[in-house]
């Protein structure tokens, strides 16, 4: 009841102030007139009545004043007047205001942009019911290099039967490519196969229709599909009665049972459809070993991750005892959200730290600027204090005067952030998850308002503190001709600049370390020649090409067709393209007296065509690549990379030796080694966990293959020709994810590039701001010391020595800043070691270069004022007194 009344009174006080003043006048006037009337009624003449009333009532102006001050919002109105005074100040010094606004906009813009990324990716809760209870479960065998592996269907069944910590455990397979045919162009769909209980585990349900039923998990009734909102709108015109209709996926009719809502983007935003997961009976009975499913579970209420982990470890140990051949003896339980961002978390937090560091530099820089202005008004402040203004009042006024700068700078900063974020999203590195959540949300805007307030507080309270502590007698007496100025004030400004430099140094060192990291990665050869290769992916439908021979044949015909394109030098195929994201590994047994180190026992299993090595520029070091001699009927042959050759058969030729799949996994023939090829980095340029073994695509055909086409310069120009060449063989065959090898390499380095670009930019800006800070302090000092310089020159000092003393001052500031920053740098860079490659966190080159950069900038920034100091004409300055 009361609060809204108060609010009303306050609002009226704030906004209705002119009405209020009028009403006040009217009320007081009425009182006066009524008194006059009463006096007349008691028998006075009108004139006496007025005089008497005036005497009894007293000075109405005093009352009016008292009432105005008593109104709610009076203080705010005063603040408003100070703000408009600030606006006038701002207009009066456009250069100063421009600089201040630019600094604020820069700081706020950078922080807002980075925070919107950090919030969207790392902080925003996942769009599922009670997402904190969701976990991912992996099988693992850390000592042979399988840190986090997919899950076997039989293991899943055992977990379900014996655990007490999960409400339910669902499975999905994220790699299910379908060729969508029918109305429109053939299209490759990225789909996931999901178990019927996945949607309930996540706590979501379809927008239209239903999810899958338990029966649809069984082989034979699994031809059902859920569409994504995007696919439903794009391809089916958002048809509301689509449920029950059938679509052709890789030549098989699937019934649409439902459409998911637009926020459902699982396991990632590229997924456009979900089909039922039907696990083969062989996998369930452990006859076929394969770890192909990802597991996601919901913890029972109150169960912690540690409890779940210890129970699952116990279950895994029991499974291992019953089935000693199991390659993956351990189980790992990870919170879903942490798991999702595990690869980018440290990079995100380094970015956030870097940008906050930049913001602090900007705020201090602004404080330096404002404090220089406050210095020139210190007498005004002192006089006002001496005349009785309260210190709070003067400090509040300083804050109010900064408010218009903050408001404009903040608004511009948010605009910059909005623009930057919009520009960033399409350029986001492909490894960055949850990009769809990156936007200027309410939470982000609140954070930037907080940031703005802190900036304003730092920038206005520091200069205002001068007024607070002003020594009245000193300041009022201090005259402009004083030679040294207020020592305390200039010391305070110097301290601000020193802190800016101390903060800029770790940023610079960080930026240099990331730049050197990027350079080292670019110099690192991936093992193939990245230029002039066009790649694309094919998923040959087994429904159309029913056996291995048919698959191999259509692949060979596609290769021939592509090779005929003018401008194509050679064309090859492989089941997994390097740096393109897919992994496929197997444990092999080599016919050698040596045992392979368990950490290296997982080997990349590759199926390649004859010309693949020529197309990729992977050297054949010994023996031969695959050729026409290798057919389905001939001796099974294989290639190994140089590393395996060295490990297994050191000092002798590997040609003619044999290998096969570890017999406890699968029974295969022995493959004869006919060649040794160069080793490549498959996962990423900065990690090299595995060696490679190649099979011939005719002897071990696979339906998921990637084309690698070596072309004349400008590989991308042949994209449509390659698609046409494939469609000549099969017009219904989509070619997807077409990129040049250069692009794959760049994509794999995208996160690194972003780290370097962002921290590098922040560091450059911080360096520039510190330079401005140094310049400001030195130039201000020189302006105040003109008279001193004049005297020194008149007494015989050389102009050189005057200039040198000024530059020395600048260097001293930089030196102290570097000293303080160095300790910080070493602490800070150690925490970013996970982002570095080929360079030490305490890299001497980076530390030295950063130090030199700051010294250089400090010299530059003090050189201009130094020249001005040296150019002082003693005759003029001394006479000016």
């Amino acid at each position: 009841m009361r609060w809204h009344h108060r609010l009303y009174v306050a609002l009226r006080g704030l906004f209705g102030s002119s009405t209020l003043a009028r009403e006040l006048n009217e009320e007081l006037q009425f009182h006066f007139d009524r008194q006059v009337q009463a006096n007349i009624e008691s028998g006075m003449t009108p004139e006496r009545a007025r005089r008497s009333a005036a005497i009894t009532i007293g000075n109405q102006d005093v009352i009016r004043e008292a009432l105005r001050d008593g109104q709610t919002g009076a203080m705010l109105r005063q603040f408003g007047r100070d703000v408009s005074h600030g606006v006038r100040l701002m207009m009066k010094a456009p250069g100063f205001s421009f600089a201040a606004i630019a600094i604020i906009a820069l700081g706020v813009g950078a922080v807002t942009a980075i925070f919107s990324v950090v919030y969207g990716v790392a902080l925003k809760p996942l769009p599922f019911r009670e997402p904190d209870r969701l976990v991912n479960i992996y099988s693992a065998s850390p000592n042979i290099g399988y840190a986090r592996m997919a899950v076997n269907g039989a293991d899943h069944r055992d977990w379900l039967a014996s655990n007490h910590v999960f409400e339910d455990i669902a499975l999905y397979r994220s790699l299910a490519n379908f060729n969508l045919t029918g109305a429109g162009d053939p299209e490759r769909l990225l789909a996931a196969r999901i178990s019927a209980n996945l949607l309930p585990v996540l706590g979501v349900s379809p927008a239209i229709g239903r999810g899958f039923t338990e029966e649809e998990d069984e082989i034979g009734s699994e031809n059902v599909v859920l569409l994504s909102d995007a696919l439903w709108r794009r391809r089916f015109g958002a048809d509301p009665s689509i449920v029950g209709k059938a679509i052709m996926l890789s030549g098989v009719a699937h019934t649409i049972v439902g459409v998911m809502g637009p926020e459902f983007q699982y396991p990632a935003r590229e997924f456009q459809a979900w089909t039922a997961l039907a696990i083969s009976p062989g996998e369930l009975t452990r006859k076929v070993r394969g770890n192909n499913n990802l597991a996601v579970a919901r913890l029972k209420p109150g169960v912690t991750i540690e409890e779940a982990q210890s129970e699952m470890s116990a279950i895994a140990a029991r499974i291992m005892k019953a089935d000693p051949q199991n390659v993956l003896p351990e189980v790992i339980v990870v919170p879903m959200h942490a798991d999702l961002i595990t690869n980018v978390r440290s990079a995100l937090y380094v970015m956030l730290a870097a940008v906050l560091c930049l913001l602090l530099v900007a705020a201090l820089n602004l404080a330096t600027l404002l404090s220089a202005r406050a210095a020139s008004r210190s007498r005004e402040h002192a006089v006002r204090l001496a005349l009785g203004a309260s210190r709070e009042r003067v400090a509040l006024q300083s804050m109010a005067e900064v408010t218009p700068l903050l408001a404009i700078g903040g608004a511009m900063g948010v605009a910059i952030a909005a623009y930057t974020v919009a520009a960033f999203i399409p350029l986001a590195p492909p490894t960055l998850p949850r990009v769809e959540n990156i936007r200027l949300s309410i939470e982000v805007l609140l954070a930037s308002i907080a940031v703005l307030s802190v900036t304003g507080l730092i920038a206005s309270v520091l200069p205002a503190a001068h007024a607070w502590n002003a020594d009245l007698t000193g300041a009022t007496r201090e005259e402009t001709r004083s030679t040294t100025g207020s020592v305390r004030q200039s010391r305070a400004r110097s301290a601000l600049v020193v802190v800016q430099i101390a903060l800029a140094l770790p940023l610079l060192v960080g930026g240099l370390l990331l730049t050197r990291t990027f350079a080292a990665l670019n110099a690192q050869s991936p093992g193939f020649e990245r230029d002039n290769i066009l790649t694309g992916h094919l998923a040959i439908p087994r429904s159309k090409y029913r056996n291995d021979a048919a698959v191999a044949q259509v692949e060979e015909r596609i290769l021939e067709s592509v090779s005929r394109i003018p401008g194509v030098a050679s064309a090859g195929m492989v089941n997994r393209l390097p740096l393109a994201g897919g992994v496929s590994m197997v444990i092999f047994e080599f016919d050698s007296p040596r045992a392979l180190d368990p950490a290296l026992s997982a080997v990349d299993m590759r199926v390649a065509s004859e010309d693949y090595f020529k197309a990729m520029g992977i050297p054949v070091l010994e023996g031969r690549a695959f050729d026409a001699r290798d057919t389905a009927a001939s001796t099974p042959v294989g290639l190994i990379d140089e590393r395996i050759a060295k490990l297994m058969w050191p000092g002798e030729s590997a040609i003619g030796k044999r290998f096969r799949v570890a017999p406890h996994l699968m029974k295969t023939a022995w493959f004869e080694i006919v060649g040794v090829v160069g080793h490549i980095r498959h996962d990423s340029i900065d990690a090299d966990p595995r060696t490679q073994v190649y099979w011939s695509f005719k002897q071990m055909p696979m339906d998921r293959m990637a084309l690698a086409v070596r072309t004349e310069p400008n590989a991308a120009a042949l994209t449509s020709s390659v698609v046409r060449a494939v469609h000549e063989i099969d017009p219904e065959q989509p070619v997807y994810d077409m990129r040049t090898m250069d692009e794959w390499v760049d994509r794999s380095l995208g996160q690194r590039w972003m780290n370097m670009a962002l921290v590098g930019t922040f560091a450059s800006v911080a360096l520039a701001l510190s330079a401005i800070g140094v310049y400001g302090v030195i130039a201000f000092g020189v302006a105040r010391q003109r008279r001193e310089f004049g005297i020194r020159l008149a007494l015989g000092a050389s102009r050189r020595s005057i200039a040198a003393s000024v530059v020395k001052h600048g260097l001293a500031l930089a030196g102290i800043g570097i000293g303080a920053g160095m300790a910080m740098s070493i602490g800070v860079t150690r925490s970013m070691s996970s982002l570095l490659f080929g360079v030490n966190p305490t890299d001497v080159i980076s530390l030295t270069a950063a130090t030199l950069a700051i010294l250089f900038v400090a010299i530059l920034a003090s050189y201009l004022p130094a020249r001005r100091a040296a150019a002082v004409d003693p005759a003029v300055t001394l006479r000016a007194e």
Partner: protein, 114 residues
């Protein structure tokens, strides 16, 4: 609730609340009524009347509307709110206790003297 009020200010507040408890009144009439009822002993000056009214309004104990005065002019009429009525009761009780206390002190001192 509220800040401690000194005796004089608190007294003016109480007088105003009591005066307008009967019917809404404008400022001049409040001062006039207080004067009449106290046989010209208590005179509330304009300089303390209007700040007091403003204070009471801010507290939410009284509220004001424009209306026509007895001489047909526009005037601001103050009246008690519900909260004001409660406050008045409290203040009256407090005053009774206070004046009773002071009275007792005075009487007892007088007795001892005698």
């Amino acid at each position: 609730m509220g800040k401690p009020t000194d005796l004089v200010q608190g007294t003016v507040d109480l007088l105003i609340l009591k005066t307008i408890a009967l019917e809404p009144m404008h400022g001049w009439a409040i001062a006039q009524r207080i004067r009449q009822l106290s046989d010209d002993i208590l005179q509330v000056q304009q300089g303390s009347l209007y700040p007091a009214l403003q204070r009471l309004e801010k507290q939410g104990w009284i509220t004001a509307d424009w209306g026509a005065s007895e001489n047909n002019r526009r005037a601001r009429f103050y009246r008690l709110t519900k909260a004001g009525q409660k406050r008045l009761t409290q203040e009256e009780a407090a005053w009774a206790r206070l004046s009773g206390g002071i009275g007792m002190v005075l009487r007892n001192t007088a007795l001892k003297k005698a």
